[in-house]
């Protein structure tokens, strides 16, 4: 059992190092095309993996989660604006849950 501040210092310090070391050590453009491609593909893969399946289970019901996901996909495909896609997904979830609760499923 340690003080809260000590726990927090260790957690925050470790986290800072994890984020800081790659950014301060890799200062040049990587010439190797495989490593370069790998790092280029990382955001797409990691964000896709973080979205599915988490979004299905993030709401009050899996149905509203799927509605939020589908709305986000469609808006992102045709519009792409961060704010509108984010807000549209939220509204889809709220609307679906409102309908579900009216129908007595929630």
């Amino acid at each position: 059992m340690y003080s809260y501040i000590l726990y927090l210092a260790v957690a925050a310090g470790t986290l800072y190092l994890i984020r800081m070391l790659p950014l301060s050590l890799i200062r040049k453009d990587i010439k190797n095309k495989y490593i370069r491609s790998f790092l280029y593909y990382v955001p797409f893969v990691t964000l896709a993996v973080m979205t599915v399946p988490a979004i299905f289970y993030a709401t009050g019901s899996i149905i509203s989660g799927i509605a939020g996901f589908a709305t986000g996909l469609i808006l992102a495909f045709f519009d792409g604006n961060l704010f509108r896609v984010a807000l549209g997904s939220c509204l889809a979830v709220l609307l679906t849950e409102w309908i579900l609760s009216l129908a007595g499923y929630l």
Partner: protein, 246 residues
């Protein structure tokens, strides 16, 4: 674009992040309260860490009165993906920035800020991240404090619905890229399907979500880089491969 323009753009794109953060950190605050952490303590943790799963893990270690070594190890494992994100960001970043940016910028490498920073055209100016952090960090911190202090004030349903904003943003970053580039489209579909399968198949589903994110990112991005390596510098400079500006 000037630093000022980048900063303003960051603030604008940071608003949906702040909204989603407020909701998610509100839930985090409720967990913190249950672990006996005060609103001020929880607020400090959020301002210093800016990590959702990472903070849940931290709270767990504190609640279980773990050792400091356990704390460091748990933090490392749960947040391993940031090594990949920071490495990827190092390539996207403008190369002419001062070294101090490389020490300050990492304070704000979150899933969401990384996401929108990956989505900007051409090279990344760190002031874009600072702009996003200017609105996102208060959203995250205030949400945590309020969640810890008055967790029951907002209806659950509103909190969870607002939390979906973060996933909506992830989609807004990856889907336009997938629309422009077929390799990325395949990559996104394969990533989502694999992640879903990992969450339901026996044995594989016992892997924690933070490990699943790392394993799938390394494997899928590595396979893609061998099957479809990017040849030219122009492709690599911006994340909108086909437009290749800069």
């Amino acid at each position: 674009m000037s630093n000022r323009t980048w900063y303003g753009k960051g603030i604008k794109d940071g608003i949906p992040i702040a909204l989603g953060y407020f909701a998610v950190s509100f839930a985090l605050g409720i967990t913190a309260k249950e672990a006996g952490i005060t609103p001020l303590q929880a607020g400090c943790m959020s301002a210093l860490m800016l990590a959702s799963a990472g903070q849940f893990a931290t709270i767990n270690v504190i609640a279980a009165s773990g050792t400091l070594l356990q704390m460091a190890f748990t933090t490392l494992i749960v947040n391993l993906r940031y090594i990949l994100m920071s490495s990827s960001m190092s390539q996207k970043l403008d190369k002419n920035i001062s070294f101090l940016h490389r020490l300050f910028l990492p304070c704000f490498v979150t899933d969401e800020i990384f996401g929108i920073a990956s989505g900007v055209e051409g090279r990344l100016n760190p002031f874009y991240n600072y702009g996003a952090a200017t609105v996102a960090v208060p959203g995250w911190t205030l949400g945590t404090i309020l969640g810890t202090a008055v967790g029951e004030i907002l209806p659950d349903r509103l909190v969870t619905a607002l939390g979906v904003a973060l996933y909506g943003m992830f989609l807004a970053v990856i889907i336009p890229g997938a629309r422009k580039n077929r390799v990325i489209a395949v990559l996104v579909v394969v990533s989502m399907l694999s992640s879903y399968l990992f969450s339901i198949l026996p044995v594989l589903r016992s892997i924690s979500s933070s490990m699943r994110i790392i394993i799938l990112t390394i494997v899928i991005a590595a396979v893609a880089s061998f099957v479809r390596p990017i040849e030219t510098d122009a492709d690599q400079a911006g994340n909108t491969a086909k437009e290749g500006e800069v």
